[in-house]
Symmetry: C2
Subunit: 346 residues, 2 copies
Amino acid sequence: MNRKSTPTLADVARLAGVSTASISRALNSPEKLTSTTRERIQAAIDELGYTPNFGGRALASNRTETVGAIIPSMSNAMFASGLQAFQEALSSEGVNLLVATTGFDPEVELRQIKALVSHGADGLLLIGNDRPEKTWDFIDKRQVAHVVAWTNQARPGQFFVGFDNEAAACDAARRALALGHRRLAMIGGLSVNNDRTRARRDGVMRAVAEFGEGAVLTTVVEAEYRLDAGAEAFSRIMSTQRPSAIVCANDVLAAGAMMRARDLGIDVPEDVSIIGFDDIGLASVVTPPLATVRVPQLAMGREAARVLLALLASTSGVSSVLLPTEFIARGSLGPASRRVPNRPLT
Amino acid sequence: MNRKSTPTLADVARLAGVSTASISRALNSPEKLTSTTRERIQAAIDELGYTPNFGGRALASNRTETVGAIIPSMSNAMFASGLQAFQEALSSEGVNLLVATTGFDPEVELRQIKALVSHGADGLLLIGNDRPEKTWDFIDKRQVAHVVAWTNQARPGQFFVGFDNEAAACDAARRALALGHRRLAMIGGLSVNNDRTRARRDGVMRAVAEFGEGAVLTTVVEAEYRLDAGAEAFSRIMSTQRPSAIVCANDVLAAGAMMRARDLGIDVPEDVSIIGFDDIGLASVVTPPLATVRVPQLAMGREAARVLLALLASTSGVSSVLLPTEFIARGSLGPASRRVPNRPLT
DNA sequence: GTGAAAGCGCTAACAA
DNA sequence: TTGTTAGCGCTTTCAC
């Protein structure tokens, strides 16, 4: 992979008949030049289609105006809009964004962190706070400026921009209990290396435990972030436990469960109530609409950008940001039915 | 934004007691070193948490192993999985991916193209083939290796990896005609700077025109890529034209239309059939499931990576890739009702 | 197998 | 206001 013959500062300087320093100034502090030279230089730049070489600039100035974000997956509406907001906020400050994905693999995450740092990312946005010691060692040793998002956990001296997954999930489960549901089940995300999904599970467990006698969390099954995985989990749960409400760790699993319910002729919410988490577009589109927890994606992206830039500008006066979530009551959550519970499906 | 004090090659060399050249060799062609020095060097690298500085490397070697992708928006399921596949294919070849978004603004797109090229992207993935002369000028002048995706249009000598939007949309409309629908309407995407959505519109128009007498495309309204925009467009269409089938330029608009239909008590497909495009997760989750056109997202991402890498390796033996689409018949498309058409809604 | 040194494109002192 | 020049971190000849 060889780069095409690329115009350099020197080429522009030659064409414009000025020194390389003047070109550099035209790019970085145009007010220091007379308008005539500036125009002459601009003409030369346009003619050659010149763009400054990032490597050279980074090398010379020790500045990159670039930050990186490392997310589990792009095909995940859960991160998409937050990241979009993050990048827009950065853009308006003239900072570029590099994005890399991990596929939920911690090894890949470390590789990507190194790759982005090598590429000159001044700071990083990371998702969640759960990663191997090895990864934190690298971050600490290199003093990589970073903020963790989608969580309210950060290591000492580090910063998060996120929300309380545990409390939000606990609140959601309480809504079901308040409507008379006593047999709850949960479709959780894969909890390995994922503090967010673990926190959501713990929140549901706490709600049931605190409610006390009479309420029971019949089962927690873990499923990948896919519609069909949610559907399968639903089948599994309904064929054995027959809860009256199912709390899901995210909307995709919940939507998958609802699809399967429709196929099995199980009515939502008459036979079983379903609650999601995230409030992505899916939630308002399913029938009945999905009760869920709205996550402040846009605010999180914006705030993460603000905090990260503040962190890069100076290390003082920065603090973590805890954002509120909101329970969105919709048709998929109804009162516990007074029907006699059905037998498990055969 | 200043970089932290960062270990350099020289630091590693000093610690390991060898020359900088050896460190470079350890990184790039380890087989040229004895295993003992290699191990000593690796230990020093680990101890310092060293990662090669990308800028320095790019400068010295004129090689970056990095490509860029520029997409309209990340919060758009339509691009997400294709991009994910693109990045995975690149990753397995040791090539990094930089991502930037345009928000559908051609000015921003040009800026992002320049930014990625400056950052050392050896090649680019672009969406669609419709961009201002100015942008193509830059690409031509700098000879930026690129492939355009999601389209089957490419300029002479350039390459696409995509599918035939026009034919696919035409086919979808014909399905409706074949089921007896004669009054069609379309909810299109915004057609400015978007050859994909224009092609889809043209395909529907062609199907109706070719069908001849008796079939009519009552109206085409354009809407932003949002659920509520689809809902609004649906209201507008149904309050005036009362078609029996609506072809939508994408699934998000179609899902929005279905939401509104549900709210207005209009039955799908009994009162009106709805067809989407893209087959994102949404489509199988709505009630009734959405008939749509399946776009080969994963294959497109993978193939785009293959073509781009081939292009970078050598300019010969590369060709465009046309991928098939597939019409997915689902419940939202039914036979034209024999009911007397309702009056327009009030 | 290993080291010395030139030079990639750029910025920032400093000089004029 | 503009030019000259050293040097950023790395790779890559060319010697040894």
